[in-house]
Symmetry: C2
Subunit: 339 residues, 2 copies
């Protein structure tokens, strides 16, 4: 049997192909009578459109992939929601892939997806720049990355060094002098923590304040459990730090929970700050001082860069830098009589 086409459905229903296409694409402004005619024709003919049929002429699939380490990280979950929204403006549907930050998953994704999507937005954790450069020749890739790194694809970049330095200066301005940090220190090429660490180091150096190894607490992952474990490590230091900057909001949440259990009061005994202004940050106990990225701007820029690259592969590689802001809340308030 010959597979029925959209034109057959339109003819049977007595409407234009455009109307059939509108219905298939879920446009709301179609009368019930028309909808009924088209749906009947579809049912009678057994019509089944190809995915992305609307763009078949161009070879456009209508899909892009958004690859993140984990949706369990609220920063990425929120970002995924914004990417889905931004992609709709470009008539793209988003496939979300959780890579777990593992090299194999990311590599498989970058190898396989060019065949089913029009482009990939990737938050790389494990791939090397060479991997990405090789794969990026075949399909548009936009990286969510870091300003300091080599530029091999279009990128939406954060300035983690400046953000960390600003946060450190805020802690110094509220009278803290013994500032600890909690983050991943592994040598992965793309870890944002490398740049956050560098920002802290520079700000402390400018004020002539020490940043000894014992105040650089290393954790295996960005989980709340690791943050809680780091609280216990901090409590054992002698003398204790008077402030701690956690390189992620989940770690800061675990830190606050761990300190609460140890009866160490925040901010009186210890100021706590984080990165990423996820929804929960404002409602921690106490509310968390953190770095807020322009999440909507990240999503919109990433999708726009991908669309422009898709339309013109010969464009020079571009960077869009995302803005950030310091959100000062109770977790770093100066204690009475300080500063």
């Amino acid at each position: 049997m010959i597979r029925p086409r959209m034109a057959d459905v339109a003819a049977r229903a007595g409407v234009s192909e455009k109307t059939v296409s509108n219905l298939l694409n879920g446009y709301p402004h179609i009368s019930e009578a028309t909808r009924h005619k088209v749906e009947s024709a579809i049912a009678e003919l057994g019509y089944r459109p190809n995915l992305g049929a609307r763009n078949m002429g161009r070879g456009r699939t209508g899909f892009i992939a958004f690859a993140v380490p984990s949706l369990g990280n609220p920063h990425f979950a929120e970002l995924a929601g914004r990417v889905i929204h931004a992609a709709k403006q470009h008539h793209w549907t988003v496939l979300i892939e959780e890579t777990g930050g593992e090299e194999t998953s990311e590599d498989e994704l970058v190898r396989a997806l060019p065949y089913v999507v029009d482009g990939v937005i990737l938050h790389p954790e494990s791939l090397t720049m060479t991997d990405i450069e090789e794969r990026g020749r075949d399909t548009p890739i936009v990286l969510l990355g870091e300003r300091g790194l080599e530029r091999v694809a279009d990128r939406v970049v954060a300035d983690n060094i400046s953000a960390a330095a600003e946060m450190t200066e805020h802690l110094l301005d509220t009278g803290r002098r013994r500032i600890a940090t909690v983050g991943i220190r592994a040598d992965a090429e793309l870890q944002a923590s490398r740049f956050r660490d560098e920002g802290v180091r520079r700000a402390l150096e400018r004020r002539g304040i020490d940043y000894p190894d014992e105040l650089q607490i290393e954790i295996p992952d960005y989980s709340r459990a690791s943050g809680a474990a780091a609280a216990r490590a901090l409590a054992d230091l002698d003398p204790r730090p008077d402030a701690v900057l956690c390189f992620n909001a989940g770690v800061a949440a675990g830190m606050l929970s761990g300190l609460h259990e140890l009866d160490i009061r925040v901010p009186r005994d210890l100021a706590v700050a984080g990165f990423d202004d996820v929804d929960e940050a404002e409602f921690m106990a106490p509310p968390l001082t953190t770095i807020a990225w322009d999440i909507e701007g990240i999503a919109e820029s990433a999708v726009r860069l991908l669309a422009e690259r898709y339309d013109d592969p010969s464009l020079p590689t571009r960077d869009v830098t995302v803005t950030h802001a310091l959100r000062i809340r109770a977790s770093t308030a100066a204690s009475p009589g300080w500063a």
Copy 2:
């Protein structure tokens, strides 16, 4: 120009169609030499597969949709990750749709998606059962719903009445007698809060304890901000309750934050409990007593029901009930000398 087919690619590369298909589907165990031959053939022919081409014979698209109110709710973000994982076992790729719990979005989704996906897993917030029943005739739908409701499609159901009753009994067992609840009381047909409320009511009745209107605090949405506002409402009650059950973990987080700001101590002055054992619950300050659903079981059951329905539309409608467990943590610990 005639569009090249997979067979053309296989012939050009000197491999089987199966090998081409494997490469397109991202299978890892393909030698570099073979990969090179196939990729060269694809590039030379300008081959571009249809999405889901592997199942074209059956009309299978290879996609399912998972529709949730919001990825900003960590319960749904975690569930989305599990659904993506479970769907892979059935060779399905998941399209995530955020409906915002709005009727228009959900209705458009249920109308439009049958044409591009093999099925829909829907957490309905606003659609009526009649809407779902009508739309479900054309495409497999699995609902994540509530045991008490009318059965119009395959469902993965929670027993919120029992869960809420068990939590209430736990609060009574730790000596609390004036128990408040915080949730949405609007008359939406599918609100889980209706059933959670009923469970509390039954447990209190069994013990002959009052549940006056003033202890049933109504909030406009399940946000942390609403939880914090509810804390202020609780603080104004005279006499104050000695326990509060929040109908969602985000609301409980906001409640803890609001109580912290008001200097009301948990659990000494007020016990706090929630629903949904999201990752952050264990790391709240103090850690939250809550109801843990079997999230992995929900995801696997939903995808399995969808697969079985897809294979055999004539199956009778089925329910799978999800198990739950009480996670008792510090937020409801009995105060010294109590109970």
